[in-house]
């Protein structure tokens, strides 16, 4: 199960999806984090614990993308988010 770290807030600014670290996360991740639209879509889904299968299913329902590609992309995104401390394991 994957879930986002609530210390990181997503804001849409001037057409860009910007993640802002807050609280203790600021000391770990400084600077600016920018997401693409589909990455932001996944981020928003992670407000509650999700399995990879759930994320893939919802992405395929919303976007014109085959499931295998969606799964690969989502897996890579989750790995990056986890490496940056932006996920909590549900």
């Amino acid at each position: 199960m994957f879930q986002r770290n609530e210390d990181f807030l997503l804001r849409e600014i001037a057409g860009e999806y910007i993640i802002i670290p807050t609280g203790k996360s600021v000391s770990k991740v400084s600077g600016m984090i920018t997401l693409s639209e589909t990455s932001a879509f996944i981020w928003n889904l992670l407000d509650t614990p999700r399995t990879l299968e759930e994320l893939v299913s919802k992405t395929v329902d919303a976007y014109e993308v085959p499931a295998p590609r969606a799964q690969g992309d989502i897996s890579q995104l989750l790995a990056k988010l986890s490496a940056m401390g932006m996920l909590v394991m549900g």
């Binding site: 804001r11 001037a14 802002i20 807050t22 600016m32 639209e37 589909t38 976007y63 014109e64 992309d73």
Partner: protein, 145 residues
């Protein structure tokens, strides 16, 4: 409902340097920066004393930075207009915080006690006026009226 066109799932992290002055913080304006406030009104979004403020620039409009203040709810968004340059916004400046939305403006102050909240929105055609937006993009104050 029609499906949206898919785009690659990217995440970009740009590390930025941040200097902290004794009573405030320097913010690098060229790309953006974060500043921790030691004197924060408890907005409920971040722990008191841990206040994140980010400001970054649009490369297409280098004199018009976009700032996000985490001080006080609702979450305010700043978009600088032509007045930004007149206010003396520049890379590495030390900024001071005010509590009043009506007084929000850039004010270089090396001895500041309160890092500045930049939430005045200057309309491109305004001369000295501006708008304040809430987190939903609704105008909450119109200085030009």
């Amino acid at each position: 409902m029609a499906k949206k066109k898919y785009c690659p799932m990217t995440i970009e992290h740009e590390s930025l340097e941040m200097n902290q002055a004794v009573a405030g913080a320097c913010v690098y304006m060229s790309k953006g920066g974060t500043m921790n406030c030691e004197d924060c009104d408890d907005c409920g979004l971040v722990p008191k004393g841990s206040h994140t403020f980010m400001i970054f620039s649009n490369p297409e409009r280098p004199n018009n930075p976009i700032g996000i203040s985490m001080q006080n709810a609702p979450f305010k968004e700043y978009i600088g207009g032509s007045n930004c340059y007149d206010f003396g916004v520049y890379e590495g400046m030390v900024i001071e915080q005010t509590d009043s939305a009506r007084d929000g403006y850039f004010d270089p102050c090396p001895d500041n006690q309160n890092p500045v909240v930049l939430y005045q929105v200057a309309a491109p055609s305004a001369s000295g006026g501006g708008f304040w937006y809430d987190e939903n993009g609704n105008i909450v104050y119109n200085a030009t009226s």
